[in-house]
Symmetry: C3
Subunit: 344 residues, 3 copies
């Protein structure tokens, strides 16, 4: 196993990095220090001193510099060593730390883990809904002790929601819905449309369907390596599909390590934006579904695999997971190509 | 290291598998689902869905079928997939799960972990004492974080009881007793006979020896891979040996993994069967001996070995452990033969 | 990685080994049993029975013998098996346990982990200060989950004390002090002299400098593999250096495993020896500095290294750690030479 390095990953919700002090998070198995400089711009560098490898987040921030807590070297926001308090104070070029391109876009901080030369800001997906001016947004962060691809599978194959989220998000109509898979370049769309569905009570309240039959679409778009937009919409049965109340969401997976994942999620609505009770109910419901239904299932799945590889176990492929399998194959190919390229 | 696969292992006390719901236990490093069908017969299958590897014991049982908790595939008691709720509902032959021969015999459920074709029910040892119509039976299950062969050693070499169970089960007469080792095919008998022994107080009460000298026999029969009958009997000194009050017991070891073991034990008596106080004292005494004397010692032994192999450490072989060493050698040979056979 | 075996390591403070019973400690990944014989002399043997590998410290001590807790073999203080309670009682020469040269010198027990033939008592460093007749001594033992070389680095490079022990042991004058490194054979001296230093309040009290500027020397001598004398002294500024109040200390590191270390420390003074309040303040201050400042930093450093090797990470070398790097290189060479010698 390995990671796709030349890719944008979500590092954090933008608001997670404070104005004062610093923030650190491990991404693709590298601990990274985030510092919001006094001009508001967030910078990222390796959170490990070049001298004796102390983690810098334990040090003191002095203006836009961070002081190593062990022997007092200081580093600027770009990772360059700017002060050596010892001996003649000379600074060897090996003192500088690796830095990473960071972009703040629509409430999220994105980090580029590969060769900085290849980082194109325009490659960051442009998600609908992460726009507080026009949407009320429920969002969260969930740490999960599982490999990120299983979390992608979970979103790409919504055939699970009748079983894992029984009575909360799913119904029999979901599995009987029409599923269509499209691939555009390396982007995979997995669209699902239910017919004459009676929504479970919680969703009935959200979409205001009044207990009457609806058609519901659950359309997922996957961007490599592991970032998804999920748009859910509802319209009374018989109406033209995909026109009605919509709640665009995101499901963004960033590997901490091979076996642990940072999961960022959001669900936005452009109706009843000021309904605080609905907002709180959505928050509770979504958190419950992710923390207490999906997460235990994915952990149980991981444990049941006994450390064996996904493909080694020769998974049965069902109609419902065509999209998930497509995404896995594209990602494998991208990683393989990248590895080859490096070898050249 | 490896396991003998073509062998009967104890999976559970029969009563552990409920009528409703399911039961699961890891054996030889495979998690196995046990389901008692409505006709009372227990079946065993791999506890891992063929699709996305979710553990089935988290799913719902519907009649004699179990539904996968993740995407709703259903499996019959024989492991065959009988329902696919997705797409056109077709069932690929790769959807079926591995099943295992299971036999219920004398209070125990036995499972065959190797090639089902070779499973002969008549190979299951026929233990004396596991017969509630004629015996009062103390029994238990103890999970132990140690390799099963060290637990076999512990029973095969009762030279330890004077030291580990000082004052409870052992006395100086035990180590001075006559020890005889017999081998019949792959079955090893390790018989021990004490002379003029004054039993420790607890045993004196059990066998009613009134503080007078007795001869005691402690006869162990080992069946590969790791199942033992231990018959203990007592008669006043001078009487013909091996005729007197007897308490047949079993000590049955089933590897969970290389480093963890399911231990099933029982001790039966055909005298004072209705003596509830004696029964409770025996229960307490045996549990104490196994949980708080044998188990800590075997764990300490394991830790002291620092991850090195038993034979690599060149163990000193004493007179008392001739039976244990014989059993280890037979088991190694059986595993070697099985591995060779597979390679043909 | 590997250890230098032909070397004296500190096994314990002499007082740690009781008169009755036994003591055990893992050193270079070998669990060792220490027994103080009735004549007061401490002996060391492998804490693992030759028969079934039970740890002997769980057994009973009978005079100057220890009885195995599992099957009752007995061993003398020199590790020789002296009693086999089983069968005909014969003792195979393989029953004897490995023993280790042990020397008690100046409050410490030293153990030789290599070939006993090469053990020369005169090679044990002769530390100043471990002499209760002439010094009041604060001392302690700290278990640390880190490789011992990082703990050596910590003492050899006192450039850290301004940062890690800010306000307690360090000041700006420390980093600006003169540092001199000497090597004599395989012994490394790393001497530091501050000028016109205003001591932090705690130290000001200890050395009675009354808030006035002083010159302070912090002179470390490293003896392979990982034992250091640290002499700290203070004199009013302008006086000849290295003549004044001195507190000789020791910092002695013994690997338990590659990743864990026994740390023995002491700090002695020959002034205000009966000042109990000062003694208690020193005890508290030193323990706090080691437990709550150094230890968390070294653990954080270890974690930040992500399991990579020190040299593989290409550490930046600063003026302040010339001594530490010198010590590391000597130790690597000694280990390499020893490994070669073995191969001959």
């Amino acid at each position: 196993m390995s990671f796709l390095r030349n890719a944008w990953y979500v590092a954090a919700w933008d608001e997670e990095v404070p104005k004062e002090g610093v923030f650190h998070r491990r991404i693709l198995n590298e601990d990274i220090l985030f510092m919001r400089a006094n001009d508001g711009v967030v910078h990222a560098m390796r959170n490990r001193c070049s001298h004796r490898f102390a983690p810098l987040h334990l040090g003191e921030r002095c203006g836009d510099e961070i002081e190593c807590p062990y022997h007092g070297l200081k580093f600027g926001p770009d990772g360059r060593c700017v002060h050596n308090p010892h001996g003649d104070g000379s600074i060897n070029k090996r003192a500088h730390l690796k830095s990473y391109p960071v972009v703040s876009k629509k409430m999220l901080l994105w980090i580029w883990m590969g060769d900085p030369v290849s980082a194109e800001e325009s490659d960051i997906p442009d998600f609908v809904g992460l726009d507080p001016d026009n949407y009320a947004i429920n969002k969260g962060y969930m740490y999960t002790p599982c490999n990120y691809e299983f979390m992608t599978d979970n979103i790409m194959d919504l055939g699970h929601i009748e079983f894992v989220h029984k009575g909360l998000l799913g119904s029999e109509a979901v599995r009987e819905g029409d599923v269509e898979i499209f691939q555009e370049g390396n982007v995979v769309r997995s669209n699902r449309l239910t017919h004459d569905e009676i929504l479970p009570p919680t969703l009935d309240v959200v979409y205001g369907s009044g207990g009457k039959p609806v058609d519901r679409w659950l359309d997922v778009t996957w961007y490599p390596p592991s970032n998804m937009q999920l748009v859910v919409g509802v319209t009374p049965s018989g109406n033209p599909p995909r026109i009605g109340k919509e709640t665009p969401g995101v499901h963004l997976m960033t590997p901490e390590t091979e076996e642990t994942t940072h999961y960022f999620w959001a669900n936005a609505r452009d109706f009843r934006r000021d309904d605080e009770e609905l907002h709180a109910q959505l928050e509770d419901g979504l958190r419950f579904a992710f923390e207490h239904q999906d997460k235990p299932m994915i952990i149980a799945q991981k444990e049941a695999m006994d450390g064996e590889g996904f493909w080694d176990l020769e998974p049965l492929i069902l109609a419902c997971d065509a999209g998930a399998i497509r995404a896995r194959r594209i990602l494998r190919k991208l990683i393989k190509d990248e590895t080859k390229e490096k070898a050249l």
